[in-house]
């Protein structure tokens, strides 16, 4: 499903170059929950951004079901993201002025579908947020916010979820809940690529990969 091959990405600053990805290769098949663990600054987030079609690598290739997002025009790549990828971030990145329901519906801006409202409600119920649908993010706990972010990522039925430290700001119970939901997504046939330095995440993964200084090792 998701195939990352020989990825290299170098950030060129004024003072020095930072090799964020150094010949990284990784596959995540359907139903596979892959965790990438490593310390801060080792290139985990860069790996997710490259995999999600947001950051073009200097070399190497990305393919999702055989389709290379970087061979597409920016507009087509945006459409590819809306149809194929769901993002979950450590900071949740919920829109502060939208209710839970509207936040979950934000991806429908990019990909219109008639059943978006109903699916959003189903997801909200599924994630235990039924009574919070009309609340704004500021009225939610951090665990609830992350579940809203997860519901949002799932709205357009993506093929792969790219999660960047999704449990970084959560307590143990909330982390478990979020990881369990990600596991359910994988169990339903999706692929999950989760980068974290949280050792607990590995317990939900089928495969754990270590990352250090831009390099991956099984």
């Amino acid at each position: 499903m998701l195939h990352l091959a020989d990825l290299t990405k170098v950030y060129r600053g004024r003072a020095k170059e930072v090799r964020a990805l150094d010949d990284c290769s990784l596959d995540a098949g359907p139903g596979e929950f892959v965790v990438v663990q490593g310390p801060s600054g080792c290139g985990k987030t860069t790996l997710l951004l490259v995999a999600g079609g947001l950051l073009r690598p200097d070399s190497g290739g990305v393919a999702l079901n055989g389709e290379d997002p970087y061979s597409l025009s920016p507009e087509d790549r945006a459409r590819w993201r809306s149809e194929s990828v769901g993002f979950v971030f450590q900071q949740f990145h919920l829109v502060p002025y939208l209710t839970v329901l509207d936040n979950v519906l934000v991806p429908s801006l990019a990909k219109r579908s008639d059943g978006a409202g109903e699916r959003a409600r189903d997801l909200i119920e599924h994630f235990g947020l039924g009574d919070r649908a009309e609340h704004v993010p500021a009225e939610l706990s951090t665990g609830e916010r992350q579940r809203v972010a997860l519901a949002r990522a799932l709205l357009n039925r993506p093929k792969v979820i790219l999660a960047d430290e999704p449990t970084g700001n959560l307590d143990g119970d909330s982390s478990d809940r979020v990881l369990r939901h990600l596991g359910e997504f994988a169990a339903d046939g999706g692929a999950v690529l989760l980068v974290t330095h949280d050792p607990q995440a590995a317990t939900y993964a089928q495969r754990t990969v270590r990352m250090a200084d831009g390099r991956l090792c099984e």
Binding site: A78, P96, D102
Partner: protein, 429 residues
């Protein structure tokens, strides 16, 4: 989720930013509408005053022309019609025409519709010695001017002398010791002195005017005249010979003497006065045009800085809004929202800012202008009224142009938002 729903929710959340933008548009629109409406009120009043002034100037000009025309009539007739066989040498030497014409010639001329002369005066003149007074006189029989019924009636230059009445020149009256109302005999017939002219300093001072028919009878020349005087139009001096040709085509056995000097003076004077009168009206019109230009310049200098200031202010607010929503934009882009949609989110917001500012600004500006108008501070202190001040075109232009300008001011920030790299934003966060 739609762009408009997202925009509406964001406006509700960041009310202050939206309100500041709308206030900027409101102030600009309010100022522009108030200034334009007050000026249009001034225009209505100034037009009224100007129209009245122009009408007065035109009246004065017309009066001047009429005065000149009447004064020029004092110069007397400028066309003399004599019999074709009249010897002009003899006429000038003796001051009278010896060859006679039928009196009906005058009626024939008056009936012609293509005649360029007016005030037709048939007369019979003889130099005789007044036997009862033993005085040499010029006896003139006249019936007054022959009416030209197909033309507008004009006041005659010389009035008819009633039968049994005599009008005398001053020298003659003095020498004969005659006064108005006295009975006097001429060639055995009794007359009453009807009028004595002021001294004119020419042969009129020794002239006695009586009714034409009585003169014809006394002189034994019934139905005959020896001259027809007339007043040619201004073209007499312009096209010498034209009048003569015209008259002789109607009265074959006549000759016409055009008194060109009088005609030229008359024409020059009337033309000069006419030109001066037209000049006054022209000056009036130029003055009004100049006021209109001043108004246009004033409008430009009021509107341009206000609109420019508003555009800059709205643009800066939009830029602030874009910077504050950096993460949100990055997230939307990451989720596949296209650049065009990001632009439309900010432009839709700007359109709403412009529309709200324009609607309230127009109302405020119009109310201010109406209050100004009603306060009677304007020229003439007379209110134009709300109905006259209301301009639907200005309202429509405001409601269309203000949102468009607001969107234009937000275009650059919107483009900046759309070009933001989501990877950079999300990595930094």
């Amino acid at each position: 989720m739609t762009v408009w729903r997202l925009v509406a929710k964001e406006i509700g959340y960041r009310r202050l930013n939206f309100a500041l933008g709308a206030v900027a548009v409101l102030v600009a629109v309010g100022c522009v509408v108030a200034v334009l409406t007050v000026l249009s009120g001034y225009d209505v009043r100034a037009e009224g005053i100007g129209d009245a002034q122009e009408a007065r100037t035109q009246d004065i000009g017309a009066g001047l022309k009429d005065d000149a025309r009447r004064l020029m009539l004092e110069l007397g007739y400028n066309v003399l019609i004599l019999h074709k066989d009249q010897d002009l040498g003899e006429f000038y030497a003796q001051g009278r025409a010896s060859k006679l014409m039928p009196e009906t010639y005058a009626e024939k001329l008056a009936a012609s519709r293509r005649l360029m002369v007016r005030h037709l005066l048939p007369s019979l003149q003889e130099r005789i010695v007044w036997p009862e007074q033993n005085e040499p006189i010029i006896l003139i029989g006249t019936r007054g001017e022959v009416p030209q019924t197909h033309l507008d009636p004009k006041k005659p230059m010389i009035a008819a002398v009633p039968k049994g009445t005599m009008v005398l020149g001053s020298v003659l009256a003095q020498k004969a010791g005659l006064e108005v109302g006295k009975q006097v005999k001429l060639l055995g017939r009794a007359f009453t002195v009807g009028k004595i002219h002021e001294r004119r300093g020419n042969e009129d001072d020794v002239t006695a005017w009586i009714d034409l028919a009585e003169a014809q009878e006394l002189l034994g020349k019934p139905g005959r005249i020896n001259a027809i005087l007339a007043l040619g139009c201004l073209c007499v001096a312009q096209t010498p010979g034209g009048v003569s040709k015209e008259i002789t085509s109607i009265l074959k056995d006549t000759q016409v003497i055009e008194l060109l000097r009088e005609a030229a003076i008359r024409r020059a004077t009337r033309t000069a006065v006419g030109n001066r009168a037209d000049q006054f009206v022209g000056l009036e019109k130029t003055g009004r045009e100049s006021l209109r230009l001043e108004r246009a310049v004033l409008e430009k200098w009021v509107i341009l800085p206000v609109v420019l200031g508003c555009v800059v202010w709205v643009g800066l607010l939009a830029l602030g809004n874009v910077r504050r929503r950096r993460t949100e934009i990055g997230l939307l882009r990451a989720m596949g929202v296209r650049a065009g949609q990001i632009v439309s989110i900010f432009l839709a917001r700007a359109l709403l800012v412009g529309l709200m500012g324009a609607a309230i600004g127009y109302a405020v500006g119009f109310v201010v202008a109406a209050a100004w108008d009603a306060g009677g501070v304007a020229l003439g202190g007379k209110a134009v009224g709300v109905a006259a001040l209301f301009d639907p075109i200005l309202l429509a232009a405001t409601l269309v142009l203000a949102p468009l300008l607001s969107a234009l001011a937000s275009l650059v920030p919107a483009m900046m938002a759309a070009q933001q790299d989501p990877a950079t934003v999300l990595r930094e966060e």
